[in-house]
């Protein structure tokens, strides 16, 4: 493998991450904001009204010097990623390698269930996509007082509004478990705790988030785009406060 810098989109299969790690290739998670640049730079390539995670992928790819991009387009990611793979192929001369991650070996979800700032939990889980080692000392589980269901949001600032005892559900939990296509796990939630069901605006998962929020005895559906506006944050604050969640 002659790559030094590789971008990943979604969660490529474990075997690929192992291979990249073995060759000491630097992995850049293109789903996360890495570049301070105007999102408008992506409009020649993607519609403005499109998933902000994938617009971020294009923005990152425009600014980083990469040798290849692995992009998962299986059931653990989405059709939007499949189409973005086609766009990336025409944008860059580097290999754009599509993968279908159907890994089923669970790594466990201790971070999702731990007592820790929610933002920190998300940082640790998203950082975890670049390695393949089981955490040696997983944090202990805490009794949850709130839940966050969904994908890692484009704008992490909403995570600061939750208490440390928030458990993570949905695709982020699948991500920690390294089984991104585990639909059963994605559907799981705790009906006994107030839960925010979050999806990126313009993502197909908005349907599932809204559906589960309606099913949940105490759920709030929420979506946001590139940045979460004041009203999205106010909704979270009010929801937690009015649900009696201690912050």
């Amino acid at each position: 493998m002659n790559y030094n810098n590789v971008g990943i989109v979604g969660i490529p299969p474990l075997a690929i991450i192992q291979e990249l790690n073995r060759h000491s290739v630097t992995i850049h998670d293109l789903d996360t904001p890495m570049i301070k640049a105007d999102m408008e730079l992506t409009t020649p390539y993607l519609p403005r009204v499109y998933c902000a995670i994938l617009r971020t992928v294009v923005l990152n790819a425009l600014h980083l010097t990469l040798d290849a991009i692995y992009i998962d387009v299986g059931p653990g990611k989405c059709d939007c990623a499949l189409h973005v793979a086609t766009v990336l192929e025409d944008m860059f001369a580097i290999p754009i390698l599509t993968t279908i991650n159907d890994d089923i070996t669970g790594f466990g979800t201790p971070i999702s269930q731990s007592r820790m700032g929610l933002l920190q939990k998300f940082e640790r889980i998203t950082e975890g996509v670049k390695n393949t080692i089981m955490p040696s000392e997983p944090p202990p589980a805490c009794t949850p007082t709130a839940g966050f269901w969904g994908v890692p949001p484009r704008d992490f600032s909403i995570l600061d509004l939750f208490p440390d005892t928030t458990h993570i559900y949905g695709w982020t939990r699948c991500m920690e478990n390294k089984t991104p296509a585990d639909h059963e796990l994605e559907l799981d939630y705790n009906p006994d705790i107030p839960t925010v069901f979050y999806a990126q605006s313009f993502c197909a998962k908005t349907a599932l988030a809204r559906h589960l929020a309606l099913k949940h005895p105490h759920g709030l559906y929420l979506d946001s785009d590139v940045t979460a506006g004041g009203s999205a944050k106010a909704k979270i604050q009010a929801f937690l406060e009015l649900s009696g969640v201690k912050l």
């Binding site: 709030l220 506006g229 009203s231 106010a234 909704k235 604050q237 009010a238 929801f239 406060e241 009015l242």
Partner: protein, 218 residues
């Protein structure tokens, strides 16, 4: 203790230390440094206090004070946005805050009144509404209608009715709706909502702040 609801167009105050606390209201463009309060809410509120509570929380607390039922929908129509809370079994069930599609709704309704010199107290309910999503987009429907011969008053009434139906749908199309905000005083708007409407007036958020103040004092 001074409480303030700092809206986009109007700000409302309640002085709890006065013998008989009575709300007073000023246009927000007249706000100055002398208007600092102990607890504030509203779009402009953060600049005037060290203790800010967000509007949805305050709306819910106001609703809890003013509505005796344990299942209700309370919709607040402001100048700039609309928001609702929905309680079932005495507990929050759903909520929404629309500052995009509800944009400038109240503001536009007031602007049109002045521009066309209309009195909403006199305008009859139109037969059908314009299909509008927000104040800004709805304006062009009015201008188109006026250009094609519809009387100003009828075009504006159809716009107001469209906006009211929109707000009602946003709140989940309930059979009974408690209404908060300045539009409670607009009979055309109130009558345009296709369900039983109970206007609570423009001081619901002050009531909510009062509840928060008394809770904190305990």
């Amino acid at each position: 203790m001074l409480l303030g609801d700092f809206g986009t167009s109007y700000s409302k105050f309640l002085d709890l230390s006065s013998a008989r606390p009575k709300p007073h209201i000023i246009p927000s463009k007249e706000l100055g440094t002398e208007h600092r309060v102990t607890i504030a809410t509203g779009h402009n509120g953060k600049r005037f206090t060290d203790w800010y509570v967000n509007e949805l929380t305050v709306l819910a607390r106001g609703g809890e004070q003013l509505i005796a039922e344990d299942a209700f929908v309370l919709l607040d129509c402001g100048s700039r946005d609309i928001k609702f809370i929905h309680y079932t079994n005495g507990r929050l069930n759903d909520m929404g805050w629309n500052s995009e599609c509800g944009a400038s709704m109240g503001f536009t309704i007031e602007l049109l009144q002045r521009y066309y010199d209309l009195d909403y107290q006199d305008l009859p309910l139109p037969v059908r509404p314009f299909s509008v999503t927000c104040g800004v987009l709805g304006m062009s429907r009015i201008f188109d209608a006026v250009v094609s011969g519809t009387p100003d008053s009828e075009a504006v009434a159809r716009f107001v009715m469209g906006i009211a139906i929109n707000a009602y749908r946003f709140a989940g199309s309930p059979t009974k709706l408690y209404l908060s905000g300045g539009l409670c005083d607009n009979p055309l708007f109130v009558k345009s909502i296709p369900c039983e409407v109970i206007p609570l007036g423009r001081f619901v958020l002050l009531k909510g702040l009062e509840a928060i103040a008394s809770q904190a004092g305990k």
